[in-house]
């Protein structure tokens, strides 16, 4: 049986530290001292998007719950923790735009309990950068002095470590993950997902170090064609009208992506909730029950809307990152540097663009893309932000 650590792709230094911590934790459980302080009560996993922060956190949780204390990958503690079903591993995976304070308060209460089946009570907060200010304050006390056997694992993208408030940051031990090298990504795609070698190599070379994105590109035809469409934009802006066609396409893709996901889940969730609240019943007291059921469904719809907005933004953000990568490639090409390209399969286009544009105008375009990303986090209507960006892309 392969150890759980094999899931963490290309992060040898971080894995080493976590392994030590896990064995120190096992020693603590056995009643031995931990003189080197290998284990601690709060960890902050940071790294670029796609580097596997949450995977690393889950793996660490598995190692803590492992009956052998090493993360063997075979015992029930390992398997359930990795699958996210372990009773003592609490996962907070925000699907909406932010994590609310009430969610955190209930989490803090749950975290104060002693572990039931395993040896440690583990709380994983994915996307800790999405904690609202109130929520991170609610968490503060618990992270500072948790009960003996409780461990907090927070994950946050490293390009914004400031997004996690400094009071929380200072109470955690930092685990920095790096951008995994393409070879490691290609290997894991080939081994774990059974992708053929050439596709795996291609996907690893164009994913920008994002493991999940590489897997998506390798396995999903629609994702590949969307990427192609996005990367054709820079050289496809000939006539003034093209600005709107391209912007429209970017927005529509994001919207349809969000719509696909909501279609698949929203109705089923609402139906499930209605059933749980006893809809369709007859007899006394039905009206009152129906009212509270309606209120619950309304709340669910609110959450679903937040989720759809997030999907839409995430899809758009992926496209913008691809675009920014292309302009970076153009700059790399025109400067004659030998650095690896983000989109090696579009090398010819970036050469053509490098011949046509001055570096200054390429830089202006790159700036426009980054500004658009900023604007979207400011809640600017995506259509307005994207159209302004594409206008600049055309002008230079």
């Amino acid at each position: 049986m392969t150890s759980v650590w094999s899931q963490v792709v290309g992060q040898e230094p971080a894995v080493e530290a976590l392994r030590t911590a896990a064995s120190a934790a096992a020693a603590l459980v056995a009643g031995e001292p931990d003189p080197h302080g290998g284990m601690t009560h709060a960890w902050l996993f940071t790294g670029p998007p796609g580097s596997g922060r949450s995977v690393a956190a889950r793996t660490f949780a598995a190692a803590l719950q492992c009956s052998t204390g090493t993360g063997c990958g075979g015992c029930s503690g390992c398997r359930t923790a990795v699958a996210g079903t372990h009773a003592d591993v609490r996962l907070v995976v925000p699907e909406g735009l932010s994590i609310s304070v009430s969610e955190m308060r209930s989490l803090v209460q749950a975290a104060a309990r002693r572990p039931t089946t395993g040896e440690w009570q583990v709380v994983i907060i994915e996307d800790a950068d999405r904690l609202t200010e109130g929520a991170s304050n609610a968490l503060l006390k618990a992270v500072e002095e948790p009960p003996d056997r409780t461990v907090f694992l927070l994950c946050a993208p490293s390009d914004h470590p400031e997004d996690v408030s400094v009071t929380i940051r200072s109470r955690c031990r930092l685990v920095t993950l790096r951008t995994p090298p393409p070879e490691a990504i290609a290997r894991v795609l080939a081994e774990r997902d059974g992708v053929d070698e050439s596709t795996a190599n291609w996907a690893a070379s164009v994913c920008g170090g994002h493991v999940g994105r590489a897997r998506r590109l390798a396995t999903d035809e629609a994702a590949r064609s969307r990427r192609d469409a996005v990367l054709r934009i820079p050289l496809g802006l000939r006539r003034p009208g093209d600005v709107f066609t391209c912007a429209d396409e970017l927005i529509k893709t994001a919207e349809s992506d969000a719509a696909d996901e909501s279609k698949a889940r929203d109705e089923a969730e609402a139906e499930e909730l209605r059933t749980a609240m006893g809809s369709g019943g007859t007899g006394k007291g039905v009206a009152a029950a129906k009212r509270s059921a309606d209120a619950a469904v309304k709340q669910l719809e609110k959450r679903q809307k937040s989720r759809a907005t997030r999907t839409q933004r995430d899809t758009l953000d992926l496209a913008l990152i691809d675009l920014a990568g292309f302009y970076r490639d153009v700059l790399v090409t025109s400067s004659g540097a030998g650095a690896a390209l983000n989109h090696p399969d579009f090398a010819e286009q970036s050469r053509e663009a490098a011949r046509e544009w001055t570096p200054a105008s390429t830089l202006r375009r790159l700036e426009a893309v980054l500004e658009c990303r900023d604007a979207i986090t400011w809640n600017v209507k995506p259509r307005i932000a994207v159209e302004a960006m594409v206008t600049t892309l055309r002008e230079g």
Binding site: R239, A375, A388
Partner: protein, 339 residues
């Protein structure tokens, strides 16, 4: 004028003065002032017959069929009673059945007034107005007044009610200054008649009312895209004065600029044919084609960046959204003039 004779508020007085009050009234619509007046008229009619007539107002959501039966059951001396069922659009099937059962056998001296918005969710609520009409209800239509012409007719009728006269210029000046809220229009009209001694004209309106009550983001955007700096700033200030949300102004500005950019990118053409291609209604294209004059590609690009910037600024990126909007309007006007 045919419009006036058809207006719902015209015949209210007639209802109030008719000798025998109708036992069943249906007040249909959701223009609050008119609904209130219709209910008052019905009560007045009942009191004209029996001065001691008792008034009961009750929301249908608070009412059960037995309670309704109690309200409308015949009394010993058949004293006058007016029962107003409010928000009948929320009525349930059981209560609707109870109302219909009562209508088959109405009690003497009882006036039933049903106030219904015209909408409704349940089948019983939707079909209630038709059933009541069939049962011979006296119907008063109180639909929301949306068209400018209707609003002007309303003002004219209000002035007449108060015993004065108003000319066309006065009407439009008053609507401009007071806005579209009927209560305010009505009280302003009454006040003006009292102040000016019966004859209301534009000058009289101007003496008591200044400024603009209805400014939307679209108006600001139209002036800005049209390149009229002074007018754009003036409307923007009015909009800020009356509290149009910043976000709405910013959105309207963005929409106007992108419409012009889009239409000018599509080139000259028949609006009806372009409509499908651009996904806009033909009238919008026709209007934008008029506005494209004086815009060049560079100016439009600058304007699009400006509106994208101000969109972020009004959502918290700027310390002072008022200033951000003003600057954006100036920038858009400037982008048009830089050739």
């Amino acid at each position: 004028m045919p419009l006036q004779s058809m207006s719902p508020w015209q015949d209210l007085g007639v209802t109030a003065s008719s000798a025998a009050p109708a036992p069943l009234h249906l007040v249909l619509g959701d223009e609050e002032l008119l609904v209130d007046r219709a209910v008052h008229a019905a009560v007045g009619a009942a009191r004209a017959v029996d001065e001691t007539a008792e008034l009961t107002r009750v929301k249908v959501s608070d009412l059960t069929p037995p309670e309704l039966a109690e309200l409308v059951s015949p009394s010993l001396f058949s004293e006058g009673r007016v029962i107003v069922l409010e928000q009948a659009q929320d009525i349930g099937q059981e209560l609707a059945d109870a109302v219909l059962a009562y209508l088959k056998d109405p009690a003497g001296g009882v006036t039933l007034v049903v106030v219904h918005s015209g909408g409704g969710r349940s089948k019983a609520a939707k079909s209630l107005p038709t059933t009541l009409k069939k049962a011979g209800a006296e119907v008063t239509e109180c639909a929301k007044i949306t068209k400018p012409a209707e609003r002007e007719a309303f003002v004219r009728a209000e002035v007449k009610r108060a015993g004065g006269r108003i000319d066309a210029a006065g009407v439009s000046a008053l609507v401009d200054a007071v806005g579209s809220d009927l209560r305010e229009l009505s009280s302003a009209a009454t006040q003006l008649v009292a102040d000016s001694g019966g004859k209301v004209d534009e000058e009289a309106v101007r003496r008591y009312h200044r400024g603009k009550a209805d400014v939307t983001g679209f108006l600001v955007a139209e002036k800005a895209v049209g390149g009229d700096r002074a007018a754009a700033l003036e409307t923007l200030r009015w909009a800020q004065q009356i509290g149009v949300p910043h976000v709405l102004i910013a959105d309207a500005l963005a929409d106007a600029v992108r419409t012009v950019a889009r239409v000018s990118a599509a080139g000259r053409g028949n609006p009806n044919q372009l409509a499908g291609e651009l996904g806009m209604p033909p009238w919008k294209i026709r209007k934008a084609q008029g506005q494209t004059r004086g815009w060049n590609a560079a100016g439009l690009a600058a304007a699009m960046r400006t509106v994208a910037r101000v969109n972020a600024e009004v959502k918290g990126a700027a310390a002072d959204p008022d200033y951000a909007l003003e600057r954006a309007v100036l920038d858009v006007v400037g982008a048009k003039q830089s050739r």
